[in-house]
Every structure is written in structure tokens, then in C-alpha cells.
């Protein structure tokens, strides 16, 4: 099945690249979405079976695959709206859709891979396709964003490769060669901790460029801002998940060694610094898209804190990752509409959004409440569990500071969101404003409703998947 998927996706992306007719473009996109759904259903029903030698669908891979399948549908739909409203050359449209298909395909490959080097190769491929998406508008600023993204990600992924090399040295010392996760997990206690430590430092630092954590977060923020909003939605949800996956898989291996608590401390430092940096920037940021990008950084920081804090935290981390993906992608889809109305992403030029787009304003308002984890948001549950795990693992000081920072972040974000929603803009160009039909906000409402539903009343299959994903962690 996986072989068919890769071949099919490759053929579709090639056809998309060559084809210049709009209708064919949409037909091919729908074909890819169908392929993506079939793969997701197939892998859901065939968990734990090895495919193509290097791929295994474990519980975490299935969770992430389902997320990517759910989000890719509205992403294609909003891309379609994006292209039907603007004047784009057929060539630009072809490249955009082709890159989108390659991005989603390589993400599926990265999720499903059961081999550390194969994961790395697929994540490297996402850099390539993502830069094509960032460069879509072809002006000086997108060029800057693309260049920085490409450069920082390439350097970071080189670091991941170095980490993998160190890991092989640890393996060779005990006479092993196989770099698959299952083999690493089984033999983890035998490996020399010195090499493992170096390997973890390099691999963790490298993957932070995709996850958007300190230290390699910078280019990621620019990319989310400069890419068209449907692509930005994918970057801050499914692409971020790929970065998380890279870190999580190796963390899982370390959980069977003596340096597990050391690795936890590294995650905690990085997570805490990410929340701190996000809170500093969110105070002064005026660009709505960048604000949401920094908010992603805050949430992945919280997830890292949770991972560092023991059994409750592990569950909370995965739950938070899922809920955050849906919320954030929904908000990013909405910023596309904000831009179409005001022709600007800055809070200075926007305002009184309720008057111009009622449905969209409701999305932003409820999205803001859900993102700040107010009940009945599902993120309330996950965030509460994260804070509880911090408390139970005796990190009182970190808990106190994180709570303060979270309050600060909610205030900074609320300031901008409420300005956008209620306070009139200085000189609104009402004549030239576009009327946005309410049904364009439908997908955002569905995603937000999903967050509430999954948090308050999670289906049994979902919780079982999460429990399976963390079953190899201690506790």
C-alpha cells in the first residue's frame, strides 16, 4: 500500500507540475486527497506491520497521519479559494500544488518510517517542498524568508545527521548495525551513554528547526508568516508534528537508558526557554500571523515540558499536540480571510472585524478562547494535565513562572485579537473590501468543534492510540 501511495503521490505531483489547466489541477488535487485518506484508513487498520523494509505504522504514526489527513482537506480547499481570488500565473499555481503534495507525502513518509535515517531523509524533503511554498509570492520578503528557512533548516538537519553518526558509533561498539527504532529500543541499555548524550544533543538541536523550539526557531517563524495562509496552517500543525516526532522517537529510546532524566532536563530547558521567548515576542508583535507562529512555539514548549515530567505528562503531551494542530490550523486558515479583507496582516490596519465578516470573527474569538485553554476547550484538559504533571514532579518554580508567562501570553494575544475584532480601524477602505461568504469559515468551525469534542469526550479508539504511543515510556 505504502509503495502505491508513494508512487501515486509522485506521479500526481509531477502531473501537477507539468499541467497548466486549472480544472485538471483541481482534479489531481482531489485524487491526491483520496489517496491520502485511503492510506490513513489502511494504516489505521494495519498497525504494527512492516512495509517496504523501513516503514511501520505504530500508534503515534497513525495519530499524526490522521491529523495530517484531516487538516489536508481544508488546506487544499483554502488553497483553491486562495487561487480563485488572486491573479496567479498557471505556472505559480502548478508549483504551489505540486509542492503541497510533496510536502504532505514526505510528512507521511516521516511519520511512518521505522528507521532513524529514513525519518531524517523525509524530514529533509519537507524542507525542500516547504521552501517552494514559502517562496510562492516571489517578492523580496518571501525570498528572504525562503533563504533563511532553507539555510537554517539545512544546517539544522546536518546536525541531525551528525547525531545519527554518533549513534552509529554507539551501536558499533556493541557490534550492532541496524538503525531501526525497534532495534535501538531493544538494545538501548547496552549502548554507551556518552555517545548517546552527544547524539541526543545534536538530534534534538536539529529537529528544533521543524518543531519551532529554541534554539533553531527563527526561520520557522518567518516561514509561517511568509507562506500563503493554507501552507502556514500546515507548517504550524503537521510540519511541527514531524519535528516533534523526530525528538520524541529518540527520547523514547533514551527512556531505556540511564540518561533519561538528563534528556528530560534538556527538553525542559528548551521548552521553558521557548515559552519565555514566545512571551517576549508576543508582547510586541503586531503581525497576526507571526503572533500565531509564536503561539505555536509556546505550545510546543509546553509539550516539551510535559514530556520531561513523567507519566501524566506523556499522555498530556500527545493530547496537546493533537488539539493544538487542529486549533492552530483553523486560526491560520482564518488569517487568510483577514488578509483578503484588509490587505494587511498588521493589527494597526485592521479592526472591527465583526462588522465585515461575522463568521470569521466568531472563528477568531472562539479560536482565541480555545487556544488560551478556557473550558470547554479540549486544550483546557491537556494543559491542566501538563501543569499537574509539573506539580507532581516537584517543579514548583518552573510551574509558577510558566503560569505567569502563560497569563502574560494570553494578555498579549488578547490585546491584538480584541483590537482586530472590536476596535474600528483608523481608515478602513470599506469600498474595496471583499465580502467573504460565511461558508468559507465552515472548516474552521469543524476543526475547533473537534478540539472541544476530543478534549471533553475522547473516543475510546483515540485514547487507546495515545496510550499505545506512550506505552514504551516508563511509568
Amino acid at each position: 500500500m505504502l509503495g502505491t501511495y508513494f508512487t501515486g503521490a509522485l506521479v500526481i505531483s509531477l502531473l501537477l507540475l507539468l499541467n497548466r489547466k486549472k480544472n485538471w489541477n483541481y482534479i489531481l488535487s482531489v485524487a491526491f486527497l483520496i489517496l491520502q485518506c485511503i492510506l490513513t484508513v489502511y494504516e489505521f487498520n494495519h498497525q504494527g506491520i512492516q512495509e517496504l523494509k523501513y516503514f511501520t505504522a505504530d500508534a503515534l504514526a497513525v495519530i499524526l497521519l490522521v491529523i495530517s489527513c484531516i487538516i489536508s482537506v481544508p488546506a487544499f480547499w483554502h488553497s483553491y479559494i486562495y487561487f480563485s481570488k488572486g491573479k496567479w500565473l498557471p505556472r505559480e499555481q502548478s508549483i504551489y500544488f505540486s509542492a503541497l503534495v510533496i510536502l504532505l507525502t514526505s510528512l507521511s513518509g516521516a511519520y511512518l518510517s521505522g528507521h532513524i535515517a529514513v525519518t531524517w531523509i523525509f524530514v529533509e524533503l519537507t524542507t525542500f517542498s516547504a521552501s517552494a511554498l514559502v517562496y510562492h509570492r516571489r517578492n523580496l520578503r518571501t525570498l528572504e524568508g525562503t533563504w533563511k528557512y532553507l539555510f537554517v533548516c539545512t544546517v539544522s538537519l546536518t546536525l541531525v545527521f551528525i547525531g545519527i553518526l554518533f549513534l552509529t558509533m554507539a551501536l558499533q561498539q556493541v557490534g550492532l548495525k541496524n538503525l531501526s527504532y525497534s532495534n535501538l529500543l531493544a538494545n538501548a541499555p547496552l549502548l554507551n551513554t556518552f555517545w548517546l548524550k552527544i547524539a541526543f544533543l545534536f538530534i534534538f538541536t536539529g529537529y528544533t528547526c521543524k518543531a519551532g523550539l529554541v534554539p533553531m526557531y527563527t526561520a520557522d517563524i518567518d516561514a509561517k508568516d511568509k507562506a500563503p495562509s493554507p501552507a502556514g496552517a500546515l507548517f504550524s500543525s503537521v510540519l511541527l508534528n514531524a519535528g516533534f516526532l523526530g525528538i520524541f522517537r529518540f527520547y523514547l529510546i533514551l527512556s531505556h537508558t540511564g540518561i533519561f532524566s538528563w534528556a528530560g532536563q534538556i527538553l525542559m530547558i528548551s521548552g521553558f526557554l521557548s515559552i519565555f521567548v514566545a512571551s517576549v515576542y508576543m508582547y510586541k508583535v503586531k503581525n497576526i500571523k507571526r503572533m500565531f507562529a509564536y503561539s505555536s512555539m509556546e505550545h510546543i514548549g509546553l509539550i516539551m515540558l510535559a514530556l520531561a515530567c513523567g507519566p501524566i505528562g506523556f499522555y498530556a503531551a500527545i493530547l496537546h499536540l493533537v488539539l493544538h494542530s487542529f486549533t492552530k490550523s483553523s486560526l491560520f486558515f482564518q488569517t487568510g480571510q483577514v488578509y483578503r479583507i484588509y490587505k494587511s496582516k498588521s493589527v494597526y490596519d485592521t479592526g472591527d472585524y465583526f462588522r465585515y465578516n461575522l463568521a470569521g470573527a466568531l472563528v477568531l474569538l472562539s479560536g482565541f478562547f480555545i487556544l488560551s485553554a478556557l473550558p470547554p476547550s479540549g486544550m483546557f484538559i491537556s494543559e491542566f494535565l501538563i501543569l499537574r504533571s509539573l506539580f507532581e514532579s516537584n517543579h514548583y518554580w518552573i510551574l509558577a513562572v510558566v503560569l505567569l508567562l502563560l497569563t502574560w501570553i494570553i494578555w498579549s494575544m488578547g490585546k491584538n485579537i480584541f483590537k482586530l475584532l472590536f476596535i474600528p480601524a483608523v481608515e478602513p477602505q470599506e469600498m474595496s473590501m471583499e465580502k467573504i461568504p460565511p461558508w468559507e469559515s465552515l472548516s474552521q468551525f469543524i476543526l475547533l468543534a473537534l478540539v472541544v469534542y476530543l478534549g471533553l469526550n475522547p473516543p475510546f479508539a483515540f485514547t487507546e492510540l495515545i496510550h499505545n504511543a506512550i506505552k514504551n515510556l516508563p511509568g
Binding site: 525542500f128 523580496l140 528572504e144 532553507l150 546536518t158 545527521f161 545519527i164 558509533m169 548495525k177 515576542y281
Partner: protein
């Protein structure tokens, strides 16, 4: 023999730290390609022939012919001035690179391994010197060159670690080719055409 090649690699880094002209950078990069070719040939002679040919092809054809040619072409086409324009004076640069090499020496000394430590020393020196060049040079093209020096360091590390795992060596080489083509390709098509001076200082619009 490998030892001599690796030491020559480290010396070439010192030479880079004090050289002013971009042309020197290009020729040192080509020279490093040849050194790595030699080291790869000696170290990997036991692996199967196809893999060996692939690796040798990469070091000779890509690292010491194609990339230098391409860099020269870029410099000519985009009329980039010949100076490398570092932020720091040469003497300080020399001190820093020497410190990096000494640091790598100490670091590789602490490592508990059966593999020749000189590989680690060369690899770390290349890696951190490359990073240092990225930080300390003004031009975008010197950033790319810094990245290429880094890649050479990684290649030395691959030789040390990957002698028994050809798949990993190949993956590393593919990264090498892929990244170089992508970065240089963007440079030749986009940045070169749009930015006049091609200094990193011009890429400062995206911020908060």
C-alpha cells in the same frame, strides 16, 4: 597516509581563516575535496565497488570540480567583489580558528573509541570553522561556503563512523549534493538577480 591527509585538511582551514579573496576560498574548497577523496579511498577500500565508486565520484566530481566551478561562475555572473569582507580582522580570525582546532583536539581526546581520533578532530574543526565562517562573514556567498566547509567536516565524520554502514554514507552524500544544489541553485537564480550587493545585511526585513 590518512593522517597526513587529515592534517592537511586541518591546515587548509587555518589558511581559509586568513585568506581574503573569494577565489582562495573556492580553491581551498576544491583542495579539500581532493583530500577527502584520498581519505575516502584509503578508508573505504574494503566496501563494495559500486558504493566506493559512488563515494569517490562524489568527492572528486562534486566537491572538487562541480561546486568550485559553479561558485566561480556565480562570482563572475553576479559580479561579486573579490574580497570576503569579514566582520573581524584576520588576526582575530586566526586566533579563533586555532582555538577551534585546539578545542576539537581536546574534545576528541575525551572520546572513548577505537576509531582514529584524528578523524574526529578534523571533523569537529571543519564543522565549527564552517559555523564560524557563517557567523563572521558579510556576504551571502561566503555563508554558503561556510556551509560547504561544514559539509566537508561532516564527510570526514561519515568516513569515521560509516565505514561499516554504506547506507549511511550514501545518505550523507545525498544530503551533500541535495543541499549544495538547492542552496547554490537558489543563489544563482533568485538572490543574485534581485539583491544588488548580496550581503546578509540586506536580509533584515523580517523581524518583530
Amino acid at each position: 597516509m590518512t593522517i597526513i591527509l587529515l592534517i592537511a585538511f586541518i591546515i587548509s582551514l587555518i589558511h581559509l581563516s586568513v585568506s581574503k579573496r573569494l577565489k582562495t576560498y573556492v580553491s581551498v574548497l576544491a583542495f579539500q575535496g581532493i583530500l577527502l577523496f584520498g581519505a575516502a579511498f584509503i578508508e573505504l577500500i574494503r566496501i563494495n565497488l559500486v558504493n566506493l565508486l559512488f563515494i569517490l565520484l562524489e568527492t572528486i566530481v562534486i566537491k572538487s570540480i562541480a561546486i568550485p566551478y559553479f561558485l566561480n561562475y556565480l562570482i563572475r555572473r553576479n559580479k561579486i567583489t573579490r574580497e570576503s569582507e569579514p566582520y573581524l580582522p584576520d588576526f582575530i580570525s586566526l586566533v579563533i580558528v586555532t582555538a577551534i582546532i585546539f578545542g576539537s583536539f581536546l574534545l576528541s581526546g575525551t572520546m572513548y573509541t577505537s576509531i582514529n581520533r584524528l578523524f574526529f578532530m578534523a571533523a569537529f574543526s571543519g564543522l565549527f570553522t564552517g559555523l564560524y565562517f557563517i557567523i563572521s562573514r558579510k556576504k551571502i556567498i561566503t555563508h554558503v561556503m561556510g556551509f560547504l566547509v561544514m559539509e566537508n567536516g561532516v564527510f570526514a565524520l561519515t568516513l569515521a563512523a560509516g565505514a561499516q554502514m554504506p547506507m549511511l554514507v550514501n545518505a550523507g552524500i545525498l544530503l551533500d549534493i541535495f543541499a549544495s544544489v538547492l542552496l547554490l541553485g537558489i543563489f544563482v537564480n533568485k538572490i543574485g538577480g534581485i539583491l544588488k550587493e548580496q550581503e546578509a545585511g540586506q536580509l533584515r526585513n523580517l523581524k518583530d
